[in-house]
Amino acid sequence: MSVTKLAYYPGCPSDATAMEQDMSTKAVFEKLGVELVEVEDWNCCGAAEVEDPELVYALNARNLAIAEKEGLDIVTPCSICYYNLERSNQALKADEGLRAKVKGIDSSLDYNGKIKAKHVLDVFVNDIGLEELSSKISKKLNLKIAPYYGCYISRPPETGFDDPDDPDTMDKLIELMGGEIVPFSQMKTLCCGGPLMMTRSDIAFDMAMKILDTAKSAGADCIALACPLCGMMLDGKQADIEKALHVEIDMPVVYITQLLGLALGIDANELGLNKNVVDTKDILGKVV
């Protein structure tokens, strides 16, 4: 399928803790010849903290409506934003009463259900496709990689775009780029603990540690992921986890968009590989 233009929803961490994900997403799409049009004046999707589904639907109706006016499907690199956009999309499409109620709040929330919401990983593998990607890949990733999917890529089933127990979208992409997948199946879809970071950090740290530790024991050069909250837990908080649990991990954590960027021959700094907290220099040396 040829994708040429998409509405881009960056999400709140895009200019802070996950700026490297935002940078690499933009650089990769440019290289692939896909134009991204940032959703004008976008608002937060509600993350995991807004529990009332109707409030989530209203928040996301505005972003969906802005993209719909442009006549573009909407894409995001964040798994939580994706989940909120797509579940709102489905609920609003299916329920006329809900659409009317949401539109009643403000005319800018008038969404007619005409577009799709997509996660970048889904666009790369299933819309652009491995064949087209392989024709553009110019470098080999000589890396052992632990592919970490987290929750919303494959769950819940209505919005997930991969198998809930054994997802492989990222595996396929990594193998296409020449990377080797390390044994990591039991950790692939385990939650990173992020939602409990601020209220039960003891649980959150231990959950994240299990994931990091498994990748390390499996001999991975890095963990690949696709969500800024997972990134914050596994990369941003890794030093706090090491300190709290008296362990040494030192495991680089990179976004799948950064790896794809490297394989496409994009400069490491343009992909924000100097912004990941755990040093990524060793990885760069293995891209040939």
């Binding site: 709140c12 961490p13 200019d15 802070a16 803790t17 700026m19 004046d41 976008w42 608002n43 937060c44 509600g46 993350a47 995991a48 903290e49 807004v50 529990e51 009332d52 589904p53 109707e54 409030l55 209203a58 928040l59 505005r62 009643g104 709040i105 403000d106 800018s108 929330l109 929750c151 919303y152 494959s154 769950r155 819940p156 089933p157 997930g160 809930p164 879809t189 385990l190 939650c191 603990g193 939602p195 409990l196 601020m198 209220t199 039960r200 950090s201 003891d202 649980i203 231990d206 959950m207 941003g236 908080k237 030093a239 706090d240 300190k243 100097n274 912004k275 990941n276 907290v277």
Partner: protein
């Protein structure tokens, strides 16, 4: 022990009338949700199957004041595996919203700082339309600790190393001190007035 005279026969409907709680009665108590839940490794009492059973029985007060409601990760593992499509992850959210209203009305006490956090988060969205980390921390910590001073100490403790790390990577510059605002703030205000939990 079940005190039959304290059971609330309407609790079932109360949950099923909340968005996300609709499928409560589909549960046939197989325990798949509980056995696959990552939290059972950390909280020995954690048991979503039992929360559903107690809800079906009408044990309203016990369910709503159960602190375990607030350690759910919303990770959707239970929902993905349930053979009866109970949608437990959403269902627990529906129960938490009822519990929250009950606590706001002073009828129960919630032994968790999670509602304080979630509310502080939502206040940022209502005010700015986007997440403002600093604003969130400045509201959350003092409320959790019960005083401004203690709150600031706790915040420093959690953030001093992390903040420095982010700063070094250029992820927490002077810009992070101020909120990123949506231009159309009037619509954010309306959304929260119409749909928000007050």
């Amino acid at each position: 022990m079940i005190k039959t005279w304290e059971l609330d026969p309407n609790f079932k409907e109360e949950i099923m009338n909340e968005r996300g709680g609709e499928h409560l009665t589909a549960c046939f108590q197989c325990s798949t949700c509980t056995l696959g839940c990552p939290i059972i490794d950390y909280v020995p009492t954690y048991n979503p199957r039992k929360i559903i059973q107690m809800s079906l029985l009408g044990m309203r007060k016990e369910v709503l004041s159960n602190p375990d409601l607030w350690v759910c990760l919303i990770c959707q593992t239970c929902t993905a595996r349930c053979p009866q499509d109970v949608r437990i992850s959403d269902l627990l959210g529906a129960i938490r919203r009822i519990a929250d209203k009950e606590a706001e009305a002073g009828k129960i006490k919630i032994e968790s700082s999670r509602p304080i956090f979630d509310k502080a988060f939502q206040h940022q969205l209502a005010k700015y339309g986007r997440l403002y980390d600093m604003g969130l921390a400045k509201e959350y910590y003092p409320k959790r600790e019960g005083s401004f001073f203690k709150g600031m100490m706790a915040m420093m403790n959690d953030y001093k190393d992390f903040g420095m790390r982010m700063f070094k990577k250029g992820k927490m510059g002077p810009k992070a001190m101020f909120p990123e605002k949506v231009k159309d703030l009037a619509v954010m205000k309306k959304i929260f007035e119409e749909m928000g939990e007050k």
